[in-house]
């Protein structure tokens, strides 16, 4: 019995065939590639997280800018509205922009002059216009719509921020938001002091 076992083990110690080695190598290569993809994936996920953070902060910034524009009553109780401030440049200029003037339809779906600005890598404003400058990293579009039930005093403000790329059909529907994009909505009402 012992002899038989030793003999069989001796005969199986004849080594691997080339085919066996090749298959093993293939398996190892596949495993390593998958593993390498995990690293790429982690880098990519971090990039996405960064984009999500930036788009959210930038969208918030535009809302805060629009919020700070004059939309109230003067000392005589008459409504005053800022419809000329240009918030697409830094620092903002009192003229040359649209302020809180109602936006044309579809200003979230296309780059509409007066309702879009372009942002560089460090969150710096690069200006507005229908065409993004070369070093644009994020595109920020916004819309200003009067609230149908109180059009003179209440505005719906929306901001959409995304990484500078072709959004494809996401531009068609109203308010589609893709991953790592940010879209914020708020309401601004005239208040008397």
């Amino acid at each position: 019995m012992g002899l038989a076992k030793s003999r069989s083990s001796a005969s199986s110690a004849s080594g691997f065939s080339l085919i066996e080695v090749l298959i093993a190598t293939l398996l190892l290569a596949t495993a390593l590639t998958t593993l390498a993809q995990m690293f790429a994936l982690s880098t990519h996920t971090n990039m996405n997280a960064r984009n999500t953070t930036y788009t959210a902060v930038l969208a918030q910034q535009k809302l805060e800018e629009l919020r700070s524009l004059t939309w109230g009553f003067d000392t005589q109780g008459l409504p005053i509205s800022d419809t000329s401030s240009n918030t697409a440049v830094s620092p903002e200029t009192p003229n040359g922009g649209t302020g809180l003037a109602p936006s044309p339809g579809g200003s979230l779906g296309a780059n509409t002059d007066g309702y879009v600005d372009y942002i560089g890598a460090t969150g710096d404003k690069l200006g507005g216009g229908a065409v993004p400058p070369a070093n644009t990293v994020y595109v920020r579009r916004w819309s200003v719509e009067p609230l149908p039930s109180n059009p003179n005093n209440t505005l719906i403000l929306q901001v959409l921020v995304f990484r500078n790329r072709d959004r494809g059909t996401a531009n068609d529907g109203a308010g589609r938001v893709m991953p790592d994009e940010a879209r914020l909505v708020t309401v601004k009402t005239r208040k008397s002091q």
Binding site: R7, A10, S11, A13, S14, L18, V21, L22, T25, L28, A29, L32, T33, L35, A36, F39, A40, S42, T43, N46, A49, R50, T53, Y54, V57, L58, Q60, Q61, E64, E65, R67, S68, L69, T70, W71, G72, F73, T75, Q76, D82, S84, S85, P91, E92, T93, P94, N95, A121, T122, G123, D124, K191, S192, Q193
Partner: protein, 402 residues
Amino acid sequence: MTMRLRSESGFSLPEMLIAAAIMVTVIGGVFTVMNPAQGTYRTQPEVTDLQQRLRIASDMLGKDIVMAGGGVYAGGMTGALSNYFAPVMPHRLNDPSEGVYFRLAQGATDASDSISFFYVPSTGAQTTIREDMPQPSSELKVDPQANCPPAKTEQLCGFYDGLQAIIFDETGAWDPITVTQVQPAALHMQHKNPLSKSYQKGAVVAMAATRTYYLQTDVATNTFQLRLFDGGLSDLPVVDNVNKLEFEYYGDPQAPVLLPNKSLTDPIGPWTTYGPKPPPLGVDNTKDTWAAGENCLYSVQGGQHVPRLTDLAGGVGQVRLTQAMLTDGPWCPDATSMWRYDADLLRLRRVRIKLRVQAPTELRGPAGTLFRHAGTSSAGQHYVPDQEVAFDITPRNLNLGR
């Protein structure tokens, strides 16, 4: 035995070569993957951490600054703090190493890396001074306001030992105080701060969130911290490795105007478009340096109140308030007050914050576009570049009429 000997005939040279070639390919493949993977393995957790620090810093600053100027809502002098004094100041407040009166950090020429602001949180601790102070006093005699929580041991109207509070009046004067002792039965409380003036009956004392955010930079010790000082007790780091913190201020370009149809003797404000109201014409506050009917925002010319501030940039849009504009006067409540502040600060409506965070030293390369401060990393795959963001905050209480 003979069989084993026969099978140990060894490898032929071609077999050897093929085996070696396969081995080299496999090991080469392993190294191709492992080398960059090691970089990723080192850097990506730091990237996550850096982004999280950026989020925390921007979130904390944003949520806090948006509250600036929230005023008292019970007792006297209700409404936003900006109707009485400037609730946002472009410098550190009460720096522990600088004494009470503070404008700039030691050796600094610019305070744009610091902001101080105040708001009254949701609290019952809001009351008024009961009697005129004979001199700047460390003892406050207060009114039992209707909103005061029931007196408890060592608690008077919600005030207790160690509480951060502010005291202010209608002249534009204010003082930050730290309560040190309360005597509920006598309606007295003590505080430890020297006051800038003797407050009159009716001045407000309220619990206040006092915040000073500032950047502490020391390249020698590799310290880059966003810190928060609460005005009295604690001075703590909030986020590490912040290498840039800049505040810009934007404000109302129009000069303040007295609201028509609003009597200056009306107890409920606001009386002007912003800032503290002047005394009625001909009435003089003997405790300040202004003439009758005047304060830091209004002079009297030809029998009328005339604003001391002018329209900036034609009075439209919003203007950037530069450090120079915020430190050149006119001073409120007057130029001699210990807690004076520039009247232009009352224009303030929006704060822009620029924030940049960096990775630890061993993951930073040479100083340049990617890195504000050089690190010790020598290989590109071990670089984690700085990340910078700029955002705006519009404190709601400073924009009530907008």
